[in-house]
Structure formats: C-alpha cells, structure tokens
Symmetry: C2
Subunit: 386 residues, 2 copies
C-alpha cells in the first residue's frame, strides 16, 4: 500500500522482499530479493534509495543501526524501531519520559534464577494483585506472546518458558480496559508532526476487529490520548507514521504498544481522511510537507475481514459486499484460512451506528465470522484482552 | 489506474500492451505483449480473461467485434466503442435517437468529387453561416483533427486533405459555447446505471485544463445534461463508464463527444466521490453492484498538470505542490515536454473558489503554465474552441 501511494507522487520504490511472490513486489518499481535481517541485503537496498523505510518490524535492529551509521537516511531509525520491536525497552523508555503506561517490571532473561524470577513475580503481585499479564519482550503479535496468569504457579511456568528462549519478560498489572484507542502521528525529521483523530478500536481474541472514528468516548479522554501520542512520537524521535495503541482505564489513558510504520489501525485513513497514513508516511520519510489529517465524513468505520470456518475465498463473495452502500473493500490477496486476516472494509457516512452497521454487513458478506465482544460500547467491559 | 482499483477488490488484471515499459504494465498482474488492433493479440488477451475492457480507444473495431462474436464478454462492445472512435457515426446515431447535437452534415470520404464536397460545404454554410467547424471522423484527440474555417476556400482545403486520408468529414455549425460540461455515467450489462454530478470543464487550445464539481452554472441546465447523458448511455448500450462531453449554448445542452472508458473528466472522482470512476467501471464490466457516486465534499476541483516551457520534471517540484493544503498530486510518470499532460491535482473543500485556487496553486508549483482563458466563468465566452 506504500508503493501504491508512492506512484502518483512520482516517488519510485524499491522493495526488499524474501520471495518474488511477496504481495509488496508487484506495485513496487523494483525488487531486491533478500532478508531484512541481513546486513548485506539491507546495504544493497540502501545503495539504491534516497531513504529507507519499513512496512513491518521483522528487521535486524543492529543491521538497521549499521545502515544509519554508514550515513543512509533510515526513517524511522533503529532507536525508534526498537520501541516497536521490544516491549521491555518500550515500557522502560516511556516510563522514564513520564508517559503513562501500565505498572510493570522487566525480568531479564539471563541473570535471574528461577527462584529469583518467582520472587519478583510474587513481589509485583503483592503490590498489584493477581491476575498478572506476562509478555515476551520480543516476537509477539496479534495476542501471541501474551499470557494472563491467575497465580504464582502459572506465572512461573510462563516465565521459565520465555526465559528459556533468551527473551526478556514484561510483567504488568491487569488493567480493567474500558476502551481501546489508537492514535496515528506522522512526524518529519525536523519535528513537524500531524495527528489524525483518535480511533476507537475493538479487539477480540487479541486481534483488532473494528475501528471507529471519531470515537464515542469522552472527548477529554480522546484529547488526552492525542496529546500523549504526540509526546511519545517526540520522545521516540519518530519519523513517518507512529501508531500508538492505548488503554482507557478510569478516565486515564495508558500506552500499550507502538508500531513505527503505517498500521492496521490507520487503514481507515485511505477513504476516511484527506491524506492517508501511507501518503503521509512517504511524505515524512522524504521530508516533504505533510498532508491534512481531517476526516472526509462525520463518521468512519473499518471492519477487518477474517477467514470464516469454511475457508471460503472472499474474492468469490465480493458482489455481496459491494451491494452494501458505500462499502470500500480491500482484500490483501492472501490464501484464505479460518481466522486469518484477509482484508478490511471501510464505510464513511453521517453517524457511527450507520457506518458500523454497513461495514459489518459488508465484512460478513465476505465471510467474516461474527466476533465475540464486538459491538461493545465504551464504558462496558469488553471482556477482551490486550 | 484501472489495475490499481482492481487490486483491493481481489480482481486480477491482464493488460495488453505494445511495450513492457507501458505505464499500464507495472500495476497489472500479467501482461500480454501485442497490439490492440491485432485479432491474434486480442484473442490471446480474451482467452485469459472473464471480461475484456479498454482504457483507450486506439483499438481495432472489427477485431473487437470478432471477439464478441466468438462469445467473449467484451465490455463495452464494438457498437458502443464505435461512437467514441468515429465522430460521424456518433453524430448520426445520436441525432437519430433525438439526442441534441450541433447541426452537422457528414461528407463521406470516397464517393464525392471535390466540386460536390465544396457544394455541400457552401450549402451547409448557407443555412448555418461561417465559420464552420470541420472534424476528421477518426483519429483526432485533444483538439487535433479539428479545424475552424472562415470561408469556402479554407474549408475546401481542409476537406480535400481529410478526404485524401480516406476518413469521413463532419461539418458542424460553430456553436457559441457558454460553458462546457462532462457527465460520467456508469452502466451495467443489464441496464442499471449511476451518474456522477455534472462536471464543469475548462478547455484551452483544445485540451482540458480544469474540472469543477459541482458546476456553477444553472442547476436546470446541469440536470438536463445529466438526463441527456443517461439517455446517451442507454442508446449506446454502454457498459462501464461512458463520459459524455457537452456544450452549453443558449440554455440548452448539445452533446459533443463520447469516451467509452474512464476519462480525464472523471479523474476528480478518485478523491471527490465515494466511488471512483475506475472502481465503478470495473464493477460494471464484471456485472457487480455499482457504488455510490455522491461527492465527498461540497466542492472538488481538478487542474491538469502540463509541462512548462523549461521542460522541467514535476517530480522534482512535488514538495511545492504538497505544501498546498489538501492537494492530491497524481503524476503519470511521463517524460516531461513543454505542453505535454503530465498529471493532475485534485483538491476537495468547502467552496468552488477555494478549491480552484488551491488546485491551481499546486499545478503551478509543478510547473504548469497559466492557461489562457482559464478562470472563465459560466456566461462568459471562454474564447476557447472545442
């Protein structure tokens, strides 16, 4: 989607991909076959580019830092990427900058004995109560690498398993989540930044099911989320899009995770905002003026399309979705599997209820199963985990 | 741009192109190298497609008709394409269907002597007065193949030149053009059709410089244009987008030209309408439900980007255009030459004057020279020829 946004601006793209059938290859002007963790392959890419950027985080941080050190314009840089890649560094740096985050402690992988780890878990639970949330600092996504543990036995088992992989463990308080928000910030190298309106997200089973803009929750909370996200982008010295995911708890916002790239929580911007996250990311990375982030309509809803239990192909069902008024269908060309994210649908319109209903109707027409907990309104406990 | 609109809908595209460096190739899923006037190449394309459509009119009508006869879904079909390709057949068929067109007569290329041709020209001028407008029935575009002739000597010279190429000549009254309009209709094979709001176009030197939606002229005239265009699409049995270009003269509309494909006069729909002309064309061609053609904003302006006298590359100037609030820049990747159309800029907003000013500012920043006659308002004689 970045390459598609580049073409009308006359920006040429070269993509580093591991396979020629990677979905990023066809829209790109040229392809370098290789690995994003190989210094050689990254250098081959950088040699052909005025600026290097990312559409995922499965990159070698040391190798990216080496590119920067060699004088290439790497945007965002390795210091920003690390906050998106490593949950432990992210929590520590944000807390040090007095950004609100859930209470946490980091248990380093080497250096602690099992008894010391158990002691640290129990001591944290003494202060914050059970259950706790345990997160592997690296490698998790879409709910994977996150555990809710009810007591010390369960906690220790997870902690030892994670430690055995050499990855640090983040231990967190279990926050009662009243709502989940996402704020997309886009920042140029010199610090100029724009922010899109705060997005209300609905998660189920650890994956995002639905986005709604503007959110229906207290405007003061939304403004606070927006302000916190701006500060995060500044502290992270982000360049390009930084997606900041937040929890709402007792009228305060707490930063959960960061993505230092265009993000699923910003897919609504393609039709819903004057400038899409993809175009502004490119503009920022090339240090061009940033575009207007206003809404194109009073309400915008995006519902993700997942494979249903029949593993049917949503492409064969697109007519049903297009029969829904104003439905913008985006299929990603992936092989359908039950539960796999295969695309999204965006609807713009006059009111939240209307756009949500239409976006869901189109997503269901494409085979998306109804999600438990979707439709939960702010103020209800969604029963959904981070 | 059709291939780009196809991808998110899960529609696979195969493009027939004469050269692998054709701008249509990179976004397409597959390429058949060949000519759109070769029966063999068209058959090779059709063999790989559920439906065949067009993004230009330089096709072999007989070869396209043969594809249809062989049972392929060719949309639009040869009978519709002929109206866009042949100005003589277009005028005759529209007049027969009582669609308002300028007064005209067709002079067949073989079969008339020079004296008979001169007699026909003088007889037409006796009724409609000099000057006359002469048009080669085929092969013209962007003002080429169109002549304004002040008297019989000039007229005869042009008529003989056109006759010598074997092409019919359309002789027309010189209409005082108060405004020029374009209406985009999109029609499914079964007859279901949608119409976008009528576009006011500004021409200079035979090429379109600017589009404005909604038009500032009398709403009754706009409604009449829309109604006429619907009838044209029905009579033409169009499938996909049909762009109908009209003159306004004395409160009436007259059909000038047709394009049976997504057209420059519809580029504003990418950002300005809920559904773009490209997406609705694909939906129609595959007989899928058509999308909403409402405006995304109260006013939309598109200004075409032309090469300036310095032949500078607009890509090097994109920063200046992006500094204009809300400017959507579309560059076509062509080699810059003075006067060559290199792209367009669209701006959406609250009022006509504001969006026009911003779109022009961005187009000028990209190197577009100021156009004589642009900025002319409805009711003024634009001084511009069809």
């Amino acid at each position: 989607m970045l390459a598609e946004a580049a073409s009308p601006l006359g920006i040429e793209t070269v993509v580093l991909a591991e396979r020629p059938d990677d979905a990023a290859c066809p829209p790109a002007g040229a392809v370098v076959l290789g690995s994003p963790t190989s210094a050689t392959d990254l250098a081959a890419l950088a040699a052909r580019a005025d600026a290097v950027t990312f559409d995922h985080e499965q990159v070698g941080l040391a190798e990216v830092a080496a590119l920067e050190a060699a004088g290439h314009a790497v945007r965002p840089g390795a210091a920003t990427l690390e906050l998106a890649v490593d949950k432990a560094r992210c929590r520590e740096r944000l807390a040090a900058a007095e950004i609100p985050v859930p209470a946490f402690v980091v248990l380093k992988s080497p250096g602690l004995s099992p008894a010391e780890r158990l002691g640290a878990l129990e001591s944290f639970a003494d202060e914050h109560g059970w259950p706790l949330v345990l997160k592997a600092a690296r490698g998790g996504y879409d709910g994977k690498g996150v555990w809710f543990v009810a007591g010390p036995g369960e906690a220790q088992a997870v902690a030892e398993e994670v430690a055995s992989t050499g990855v640090d463990l983040v231990v967190e308080e279990r926050v009662a989540i009243e709502a989940e928000l996402a704020v997309l910030v886009c920042r140029r190298p010199g610090g100029e930044a724009v922010v899109w309106p705060t997005v209300e997200t609905t998660q189920s089973g650890g994956v995002c099911r639905e986005l709604l803009v503007p959110s229906r929750i207290d405007p003061a909370v939304l403004a606070s989320a927006s302000e916190v996200a701006r500060r995060v982008a500044e502290k992270a010295r982000a360049v390009g899009v930084l997606a900041v995911e937040l929890f709402v708890n007792g009228g305060r916002v707490l930063v959960n995770e960061l993505a230092a790239r265009p993000h699923n929580s910003g897919h609504w911007t393609i039709e819903g905002s004057v400038t899409s996250q993809f175009e502004n990311h490119l503009r920022a990375v090339l240090d061009l003026p940033l575009g207007d982030t206003s809404l194109n309509a009073p309400a915008v809803a995006t519902v993700n399309v997942f494979g249903g239990s029949d593993a049917g192909d949503p492409r064969a069902r697109v007519g049903g979705a297009l029969a829904v008024e104003g439905a913008h269908v985006h299929l990603y060309g992936k092989v359908p599997r039950p539960g796999r994210k295969l695309g999204h649908v965006t609807v713009t319109g006059h009111d939240s209820d209307g756009v949500r209903a239409r976006a869901w109707a189109a997503a269901r027409a494409l085979g998306t199963p109804e999600a438990e907990g979707t439709g939960a309104r702010a103020g209800e406990d969604s029963g959904v985990d981070p």
